[in-house]
Symmetry: C2
Subunit: 331 residues, 2 copies
Amino acid sequence: MTNIYIDAMGGDFAPQATVEGAVMAVKAYGTPVTLVGREADIQKELSKYDVPEGRVRVIHADSVIGFDEEPVYAVRHKTDASLVVALEAMKGDDNAVLVSAGSTGALLTGALFKLGRVKGIKRPALGAPLPRMDGGRVLLIDCGANADCKPLYLSQFATMGSIYTSQIWHVKNPKVALLNIGTEAEKGSMAVKEAYALLSERQDIRFIGNIESKDALRSEADVIVTDGFTGNILLKSIEGTASVLMKTVKNTLLASTKGKLAGALIKNDLSGLKKTFSSDEIGGTPFLGVKGGVIKAHGSSSAYAIKNAIGQAVAYGEANITARIKAALAK
Amino acid sequence: MTNIYIDAMGGDFAPQATVEGAVMAVKAYGTPVTLVGREADIQKELSKYDVPEGRVRVIHADSVIGFDEEPVYAVRHKTDASLVVALEAMKGDDNAVLVSAGSTGALLTGALFKLGRVKGIKRPALGAPLPRMDGGRVLLIDCGANADCKPLYLSQFATMGSIYTSQIWHVKNPKVALLNIGTEAEKGSMAVKEAYALLSERQDIRFIGNIESKDALRSEADVIVTDGFTGNILLKSIEGTASVLMKTVKNTLLASTKGKLAGALIKNDLSGLKKTFSSDEIGGTPFLGVKGGVIKAHGSSSAYAIKNAIGQAVAYGEANITARIKAALAK
């Protein structure tokens, strides 16, 4: 049984969205959840819904870590923050999975300090799911947890990404690509060339070679491996370019009568497109390689996004991802 | 007087596009040009146009370096290639500027070997102009020449980018930003943090701090400084995301009768948008920091794109960019 913990106070729309999302998840997946945060606030939100009996537990935590707080300091000193209380509560329970839409830095730091790394893992990493043009998804790992990476870390990211996509997305024998500035083996920085060599030697993963950033959304790769600096640049560049382009299309449509007419005709189709690129739909990013499970939901998560992230957390626990990573590293 | 050299055989549509573009440029800017490549082929193309008397010179070169050839080997051994012959012809002439749509690797390697670095410059760098949502442009430097960069290189890229944008784009006191995974000073990899410290100390440039990739197209920065690996990832990700999105919008429009009608209404507006993101319009990327000038045009350059790149080369020469970089480094 997976024990789901929710940082009820984390995120732009907490605790409204977190509590509503938790109630939606309980109804959708039948899983019990533990909400951690200011009890009075949480109970007030819970009273708005018809909550299934005995499925929602509340653990009180007096404060919350804000997005602007220095992660290491906050995690060490704010012992009554919802995130810290949640991590303490799940400590030692390998079946526990935490969902948080709060500060990414605090979540990663807190998980590292309180839960610790899976034995053998050098650096836990964030895996962001990206939409693929063929309707599939690709996991970009690391997308921001480790700005400085050695080639060995990237090789371990490949292991964790393969396990995650095969178990959670049910991809058979997932294809792993290395993010690079050219497709040839001899391209890239010294570190990336070394990572290429390491990945090429691996028999236990399916390495398909280098991938350029322009093909990130339209390749057949299931996992794209990179350091956290480059991954974050790619992730946010896709987000920024999509946002800028959609805005430009919208402005173009609003600029003329013909455009407004056209816009009215395709409004539904465009919102479908927006949905494809929406982080609400894609769900949270797993922080792979720590003991227990950690799912980071987007800071601006709606209740629907929180519900989806909890769904991911349930799947994460049921698939025993942490145990599988441990077993793979032990080989 | 700037002496413009054109690698007539470089690019997907050479020599047709290069020769036509050169003729267009001669007419538009009144500048004489030297076309380097197979003389018979060039003359055949030239015979199609009404070429102003004495404005087009041809230097024969028997072969061409292909996109798939190993740059260092090709530049060393193919001494009769159009690129190599052009670089030899302009060697020692600080007023010479080369335009090539051929292999980027061969162009950068050739320029380094044959022309050499400006005194004091550790690593010449490619500066890619990106469209900014406010209608302006921002120079991304380095966008691919140097996969491994020390912090000092980035500081020099800031110098070269500031000179280029102030002289060629006429930006007064250009704003320089450092590409990073957060806006705070303490964010990023060790190398980027060091670069931040170096840039903060500079009195001769206008450093405005970190910029995230999601804001690359919508900030007020005139220059974005980064290493060639990260810059290339950002550049190609913008290109890839824009291409994928425009294709998806198109498919959405074609999927229904309503969509087709809407598409017909906004066809012209959408092609305007496409133009904004077109490398044909934005022009070539200068390779800054070598003696003489080098403008890399896109491999799939049309005659119009070549003409624009030559326009850039003319401006480059007239503004004495190379001499200005040398003077700035001497300080």
